[in-house]
Symmetry: C2
Subunit: 245 residues, 2 copies
DNA sequence: CGTGAATTTTGATCCGGCACAAGGGTTGCT
DNA sequence: AGCAACCCTTGTGCCGGATCAAAATTCACG
């Protein structure tokens, strides 16, 4: 039984699943908007169950039959693929309001695992598909979310195209900061993932990432409060490095 | 006035816009399916105009107000962003049946330019959005297309994460081969883009790409018929290199 | 079919990140 | 609290790709 305070802290759970994305028609510059109306959230809530997992547990695994999609509710999740070589390739880090579990040919193409204790709304495809086909407006919101994801993915491509380690890391930090809307302070960014997850994500070795963070710290642009939280000290400079492609 | 033969060669234009993607529910393994029913294509055709551009001309430019989306009809198109440094970052190469021109905040986020003489269906958002909101089934197909794109984008991320030049190139070639469905021979792959476009796409310098292609040729895996067409001689081996992550 | 421009290939040098390795910290478990 | 496993940092040598430079091929155009 969760005390009301704890529930409130993570946002607005009671209202049902939320999806966040940048609208592609609207002009609300730069803002990540809540896409669903209260009514739509209620509709989704009606067919959703809530899954709560401990750190390290799996929402689903690569290759499993895909029967449901998930919408992040609390905590942090990573999705990745195991490559033949045994290396993991991080696909994405997911938080509240993120959509995950889209399938190909009826099977999940990657594995979703909780980085921290995490919860998500689980919606059976069998329930979702008819709802979407009945409710074009709701489906439209999913569409918007997907275009948003495509763009996120492209930002990542741009990041990966860079050669320099510090640049990639700076870009990564900025990305994480930007996803961390609704935080008290925009400059305190939680990094629930391990360094090696970051390394996989930015496409560098763990050591290189470590060196790069050290450099940024020494330059006074960032500081760590423990291993899983960064404070951005010099936003301007960090942005400059991140944008300097 | 295009002679009928020329029109037929590029596929099934007369039937209206086509969209290709891998369905995410269906089990038709590995196949890129035509998503739209004849009726849906007709509906789109009714609100579409056809844009024909010469090589090097622009469908739209980064930052312009986004009033329409496009669906590839013939020829090849590239989309890219100009980075502050002046470098281009290729986002994607597009062919017939591909969707492009999705906006963010009402503006195009990249530039779309014809690599070869190319044509596309242009559909005004003002016409499309109501149609989608009226026709959930049609919209659903768009949704599927977008999930497909997300996955393509992720394949690219995986490609970029690799370090070795030959591996990236092999992967790129395989990707291009796979998109080139409906070709007479699967092993003759057109490469309408320049080497430097390829370099931008795979995230290496032009010289490195050149060296890598040379190596593949010397190893007897591929051969060039002119600069814009590759023949894949040893598919097995090429796949092996491409998959060897 | 020739000429100049653009694209591609080839060559040489330099630098940054990877691999390997070892030391110190932190976290989780009992 | 204590121990062990894991995670992160730091150091060194080496290799692959970027960069600069120049030659070679192809292409566009008349």
């Amino acid at each position: 039984m969760t005390p009301p305070a704890a529930a409130a802290k993570d946002g607005d759970h009671n209202a049902g699943p939320a999806i966040a994305a940048r609208r592609f028609l609207a002009r609300e510059e730069g803002l990540v908007a809540q896409l669903l109306t209260p009514r739509q959230r209620q509709q989704l809530l009606d067919i959703a169950t809530i899954v709560k997992l401990g750190k390290g547990q799996f929402f689903y695994r690569e290759g499993q039959e895909a029967k449901a999609i998930f919408i992040g509710r609390s905590g942090a999740v990573k999705t990745y693929r195991e490559l033949p070589s045994g290396a993991k390739r991080i696909k994405s880090f997911l938080f509240a309001r993120d959509l995950f579990g889209l399938a190909e040919n009826g099977h999940y193409v990657n594995t979703a695992r909780a980085l921290t204790p995490a919860s998500a709304y689980r919606i059976e495809l069998e329930d979702l598909v008819p709802l979407l086909q009945r409710d074009a407006a709701l489906e439209f919101q999913f569409l918007i979310k997907l275009t948003h994801e495509i763009r996120e993915s492209q930002r990542r491509v741009i990041m990966l195209a860079r050669q320099d380690a510090i640049g990639r890391l700076a870009m990564f930090l900025v990305m994480m900061r930007d996803r961390n809307v609704e935080a008290k302070s925009r400059d305190v960014v939680p990094l629930p993932m391990s360094r090696s997850d970051v390394a996989d994500f930015v496409g560098h070795s763990l050591e290189t990432v470590s060196r790069a963070t050290t450099k940024l710290v020494k330059q006074g642009l960032i500081a760590f409060d423990g291993r899983h939280q960064v404070r951005i000290l010099d936003n301007v400079q960090l942005e400059r490095i991140a944008a300097n492609v």
